[in-house]
């Protein structure tokens, strides 16, 4: 039994290795092996997400309100008995609206899909207005200003009081925002602030780029380790 499991692991890992080589072959040039792996990942991804969204999206957000769910006595996993329940029938509305999205397949009735689309946009916009205003704007403004404690006793980088660096964060934030403000021409003092803003933004973009490079290199190292482990396993 253990021998079989080990053989199955070897076969599955070899499949993963072959697909990894198929993709790396693109470094030479576009070729049928790469195209095969590319199309395979598209299909597998669609199948995976369809199933994942059924179990983690449709089941908890729709079916659990319209049908009776129970736990499997052996595995403990929750499953749908398909017995209807009638206390939350209003959940049929999003289901019908969801189905109305499919009228896009018909040229004659495609206009019906505007209703669910409108509802979707209305709900998401309505939720986004206060939440985004709070999380992206007010919390960031608060974090920028509240950090300014005028604590001259704590020294930060280069022995400079931390409050000085806090003030520089505020100036950097304001100057970066000025750079994005195009309703006024970037000339004079305003232009100088915008210039400071672009330098601040470049440091931010440099940091992001550095992190991205490191993340990709980490993935490459991980793939090389995967190949090494496979090699050790088969030899």
């Amino acid at each position: 039994m253990e021998q079989t499991a080990s053989m199955a692991t070897q076969i599955w890992t070899t499949v993963g290795i072959l697909l990894t080589f198929c993709l790396f072959s693109f470094l030479y040039k576009d070729n049928p092996f790469y195209k095969f792996a590319e199309h395979l990942v598209v299909g597998v991804s669609v199948g995976y997400w369809a199933i994942l969204l059924y179990y983690n999206g449709i089941n908890p957000n729709l079916f659990s309100h319209l049908f009776v769910f129970t736990n499997d006595p052996t595995t403990g996993a929750e499953f749908n008995t398909w017995k209807p329940k009638f206390d939350e029938l209003y959940y049929l509305i999003p289901a019908l609206l969801g189905i109305a999205m499919w009228t896009r397949f018909s040229r004659k009735y495609a206009w019906i899909s505007r209703y669910p689309l409108a509802l979707y946009l209305g709900i998401s916009s309505g939720i986004a207005i206060p939440v985004t205003m709070k999380n992206n704007v007010l919390t960031q403004l608060r974090g920028t200003v509240v950090g300014l404690g005028f604590d001259w006793s704590t020294s930060g980088f280069l022995g400079v009081p931390q409050s000085i660096w806090d003030i520089i964060v505020i100036l950097g934030t304001i100057s970066s925002l000025i750079y994005f403000f195009f309703s006024k021409e970037h000339k004079g003092a305003w232009g100088g602030a915008a210039r400071l803003g672009i330098y601040t933004l470049m440091i931010g973009f440099g940091a992001t780029f550095g992190y991205t490079v490191m993340a990709r290199i980490s993935l490459l190292i991980n793939r090389i380790q995967f190949i090494r482990d496979w090699w050790n396993m088969i030899s």
């Binding site: 395979l40 309100h65 709900i123 950097g172 440091i203 973009f205």
Partner: protein, 206 residues
């Protein structure tokens, strides 16, 4: 009916959901939960359009024996195969074959695709990092410092680490905050335009 009702729906639900945020009562919370569930359900049903489109394009390519039609067979077979292995009687998300396909096809290919980008990002770095102006020099120095910070550099490790930390906590934080504030204001403005019916491109032409 084709234009006005959707506009009314967007306005009514947009305003209701925006007000709901400021009404901390149980019915208001319940309304929010149902609306959020509805949002998820409509989104998932809309995904069927994408899947159908994928099947339609692939099927037509195979039917017409178009160039590289064989790859469409791969896409369709893998799509239906993966979905089939995830059905309830196959064990669902924890089904043995579904998990093996996920672990040994989905994960290795995705990781390999993103690791391929390491090579392309290296050539992009060469082009981006040439210090042709003061601004690009700042970008170059910031990226290099950040990368040097995580590798052993002997006696230089401590100063590099200090400069790197300062860079992350002062100018980088200022830039990120400005970007977040800008994105936030832009998102709110766009959402308001949609709710108020100023932005109505989603309605199409007729």
């Amino acid at each position: 009916m084709k234009q006005q009702i959707p506009l009314v729906l967007v306005f009514v639900f947009g305003v209701l959901l925006a007000i709901q945020y400021f009404v901390p009562s149980e019915p208001s919370q319940r309304f929010y939960e149902v609306a959020l569930d509805g949002l998820t359900v409509i989104g998932i049903f809309a995904m069927v359009l994408g899947i159908w489109s994928q099947i339609h394009v692939g099927y037509n390519k195979i039917k017409r024996r178009a160039e590289d039609w064989q790859y469409s067979v791969v896409t369709l077979v893998s799509m239906f195969g993966m979905a089939f292995c995830g059905l309830s009687f196959m064990g669902g998300l924890n089904g043995p074959i579904f998990r093996q396909l996920y672990n040994n096809i989905f994960i290795p290919i995705q990781a390999a695709i993103f690791s391929l980008l390491a090579f392309y990002i290296a050539s992009a770095s060469y082009r981006a990092f040439r210090a042709r102006s003061a601004v690009s020099t700042v970008l170059l120095v910031a990226a290099l410092l950040l990368m040097l910070r995580v590798i052993p550099t002997g006696p230089l490790a401590d100063p590099i680490n200090q400069i790197g930390s300062w860079m992350l906590m002062v100018p980088n934080m200022a830039a990120k905050r400005a970007i977040l504030i800008g994105v936030g204001l832009g998102s709110v403005a766009t959402a308001l335009k949609i709710v108020l019916g100023i932005e109505r491109s989603y309605l199409g032409k007729d």
